[in-house]
Amino acid sequence: MKYTYKLTEEIARWAFEIKCKESADWYISFTNPTAGPWKSMKGLDENGKEGEIYRFGADEERPDIVLINDKLKMVIIIEAKDSLPKLVSGEQAEKSVNVVSDISNMLKHCSSPFFGKERQSYPVYLGLLWGSETFDDKSVVENVQKTYYDLMQNYDGIDKSAIINISTLKRGENLECLLFVKNYNLENAFTFEKQMAESFGVRTLDLQ
């Protein structure tokens, strides 16, 4: 490779977005690069036509990715950082949970034809995505989960039975996205994680 790169948030997030784009089941409703035609949340109407469902205010906090899956009937709202520690640095976790809750509540009352009534009842999961250059340490990951899980208890709109995690791992110059579902109260956690990994076309993350 001619140029070397740092595993920034942009690259970690983008690598996962590619997985979403390549999946037949996941629809990227929103992603948060700097600007461009991606500044609003979009959805699909019953004929598959794309349209705007929500436009963020200039100073409004935004999530990093919003995903919709009509097959699994769920929404995931993801906070992304270039490393695991940054997800819990300072006020970050509180800010992120707050944003997920706000968006989730907005979606549950969203009357846009591009979101549709049926989707209003989809569970909204909180997702965490980070970049990693080594396999993640189990205790560090669990601490991050716990911070988010504890905070989620103070907010409504978020499904509290699980947190969806994606680690974008840099190996040499290649990137691989790995998925891990932190189960809190799922009926069938193993199947859920397997289904999720398959839907994104990624392997699951084995914490060391």
Partner: protein, 491 residues
């Protein structure tokens, strides 16, 4: 068979992929086969080929993510980062640069990115600025784009004999809609042809005369229909309306045709006051200030005295600030203010009481509503500066008779004058109001609320400092401290 691999350097991977997808749309309609994959699991990689030519693209998203960027990219992005740039590593050449925005084009929005326009043009890189012609303001009303990116683009095209284009998407019925209007088609038809010419080793602009003529014609048509909503006077209106002007500009820019050289070189030059139409001269009257400032008062008095003129009698004021914001700002500026080595000494005197209260308890920060003054002669401006700030007496050495463009920012955000939107605004205005004209104007910026010690020579730089070093002749900061960035002088 011609073949070339282009690197698409971009602000984000989305922008880079969007560029490639749109080029793919154009080329597939011309019979090219397109294939698409990802390198290393994340870098978009495209191959587009027909029987004669193969174009390959690899996207390098997020400039700052890459450690060893090509030096040409580094040099360009010092003047602001275009959304995407095509680069040929083999010959170390930048082929084109593009800035696009989904932002509603109200207020300063479209000027905010004009430093990228300037940067690309100064390196003679063909440049496109894609933006919405019609947008919805936060008040719910429909707004139309500003004229300044187009004025600056035409002047930069002529100055650097390199296409510098503004193309619009959306229309009156489809506000902010990328798929409406001609912009997307014009942009990607142009860059696709440019890349084919480059790959096939033809002259870069071969078979593109018509494409550029149409784009310049649209830019002029926009100017003709929109100028009166923004300024009281537009120079060379006859030429703007003339259907031959687009051809003249295209000929000059692409073919360096000498026939109309003087006419084109002087196009859109804002003249001296005495050369303005009489009714515009009569209209020139200074106004009272919202927030008092000695030098701003002198500028307004000079307008009344017909020593300078302003662009419009219809200028608006900036957003008021809260008491807390102003107090915190004053504190930060006072801490930064350093009057050591200033002879005579300068005084820090920003006080909360200086900012008049609004009805709802906030404070006006706007001094005069005007932020542009065009002086006929430096000597008149110098007199006002020395009256307002006696410490500057005898410190300037510009020729008395030179005309001047004065740019003002009342900003009350720490360091913001070196960022958005002021950097882009200054880049567009300096170009529009004569920094490079045959009859050059001195460019003087005045920042009444910002202290000079925010400029740290040689230590830390950003696009604002880079641009101002190149595009201003003098900056006057709070307390009447003048700085010449290009000479590294504090007066």
């Amino acid at each position: 068979m011609f073949e070339k691999e282009f690197e698409i350097w971009a602000d984000s991977f989305h922008e880079g992929q969007w560029c490639c997808d749109n080029i793919a749309n154009v080329l597939s309609s011309k019979g090219f086969c397109i294939s698409h994959s990802y390198r290393n699991g994340f870098q978009p990689y495209y191959v587009m080929s027909n029987a004669e030519v193969t174009l390959k693209f690899v996207v390098y998203g997020s400039y700052r993510s890459w450690n060893n960027r090509p030096e040409k990219i580094n040099e360009l992005i010092k003047f602001g980062k275009p959304d995407f740039v095509a680069y040929d590593a083999e010959s170390d050449e930048l082929i084109f640069a593009v800035e696009e925005t989904a932002a509603t084009t109200t207020g300063n929005q479209s000027l905010q990115r004009c430093e990228r326009q300037y940067g690309s043009s100064r390196f003679k890189i063909p440049y496109w600025y894609l933006l919405s012609e019609y947008g919805i303001h936060s008040d719910g009303g429909v707004r139309r784009d500003s004229i300044w990116p187009i004025v600056a683009a035409i002047k930069l095209s002529v100055l650097n004999t390199t296409p510098c284009m503004v193309v619009h998407y959306s229309d009156e019925n489809n506000l902010e809609d990328y798929s409406a209007g001609k912009g997307i088609g014009m942009l990607f038809n142009s860059v696709s042809q440019l890349l084919i010419n480059y790959t096939c080793e033809k002259p870069l602009y071969a078979d593109m005369q018509k494409i550029f003529r149409e784009q310049y014609a649209d830019m002029l048509k926009f100017l003709e229909s929109q100028w009166a909503n923004i300024v009281d006077f537009l120079p060379d209106l006859d030429m703007v309306k003339d259907s031959d002007t687009a051809e003249m500009i295209t000929d000059f820019v692409l073919n360096k045709t000498e026939v109309n050289r003087d006419k084109i070189k002087n196009f859109l030059h804002w003249p001296c006051l005495s050369e303005l139409p009489e009714e515009i001269q009569i209209k020139q009257k200074g106004n009272s200030l919202l927030k008092y400032d000695r030098l701003m008062e002198c500028f307004e008095n000079d307008v009344t005295a017909k020593k300078a003129y302003t662009l419009s009698g219809n200028a608006g004021s900036g957003q008021p600030c809260s008491t807390t914001q102003i107090k915190s700002y004053i504190k930060s500026q006072r801490e930064k203010f350093d009057n050591t080595n200033l002879e005579p000494t300068a005084e820090f005197s920003i006080k909360l009481e200086d900012f008049p209260s609004t009805k709802n308890g906030n404070h006006h920060i706007t001094t005069a509503k005007n932020i542009v003054y065009l002086y006929d002669r430096w000597v008149d401006l110098k007199e006002s500066i020395e009256k307002a700030y006696p410490r500057l007496k005898g410190k300037f050495d510009f020729p008395d008779g030179m005309p001047v463009f004065v740019y003002v920012s009342n900003s009350l955000t720490l360091g913001r004058i070196f960022g958005d939107p002021f950097t882009g605004q200054l880049a567009a205005y300096s170009t529009a109001f004569g920094h490079f004209d045959k009859e050059k104007r001195i460019v003087l910026a005045y920042f009444p609320h910002q202290v000079h010690s925010q400029v740290s020579f040689g230590k830390r730089t950003n696009k604002g400092i880079t641009l101002m070093t190149e595009l201003t002749d003098m900056i006057i900061f709070h307390g009447g401290v003048a700085v010449n960035l290009s000479k590294g002088e504090v007066l």
